[in-house]
Amino acid sequence: MAKIVVDVMLKPEILDPQGNAVASALPRLGFTFATSVRQGKRFEIEIDGEPTPAQLAEVEKAAEVLLSNPVIENYVVRVEK
């Protein structure tokens, strides 16, 4: 069994109010390390066996069509060891 991870993030130029809210909550709790926070989504997809290039291409397609909205989001597909 392998796990394929798809990370979806808002594009840098798109305002992320949720990330901003987290960024402003951190210092209220004494965490002063952050200059910026962006919030995204992570999909964990399990498949039988090691993924083939064809399966990874299918996941890429699904990421573009369904898991992300390319108008506002970028995605990265990777296989988790």
């Binding site: 798109i14 305002l15 109010p17 949720q18 108008v71």
Partner: protein, 222 residues
Amino acid sequence: MRVGVITFPGTLDDRDAARAVVVGGAEAVSLWHGDADLKNVDAVILPGGFSYGDYLRCGAISRFAPVMQLVIDAANKGMPVLGICNGFQVLCESHLLPGALTRNADLHFLCRAQEIEITNNQTAWTSSFQQGEKVVIPLKNMEGAFQCDDQTLAMLEGEGRVIARYVGENPNGSRNLIAGITNAKGNVVGLMPHPEHAIDELTGPSAQGLGFFTSILNAMVK
């Protein structure tokens, strides 16, 4: 004239939209998200709500509903389609309209009477209004900030495809105060505020929302 109103699981405003269609002078036809038939309607409204629970992204799953494949085909052939609030989000996810709707800039759910200006009265859904007419209708949403890249924004502005703008302070962070847009043909319109809740002064902030529902009759008579 028959105007279809689609109900997805989680749709809220289908009843009000259907009533607005009837008060506007047309026949309202209920369509279900799983329908494989548009029941000979002349136009379609995608009402507000939280279709499929807004899971993944607002409108992202609705886009793939069986009835939407028929709506997308018909819209591309010129059938008038109006998406209100969640319906606007579905139209963007379906690529019938450019851009996307994202979380309100201040993160608050908005629910208030909002003044908007009609900036294009040449579409299938806005012809009952005067150009520049200001109307007050409810705005209620969480993901209402219209976003697109600079090139798309320039195209929308250059082609006069912004059909309504918020008046006064920007309520949700929408680019250029955009409250609604149309496609190149003017048959598909997406609108964030809710005209179907403003067709009677007893229950709405005005009756000015009715213009969207009488416009569609003009479009058919032409």
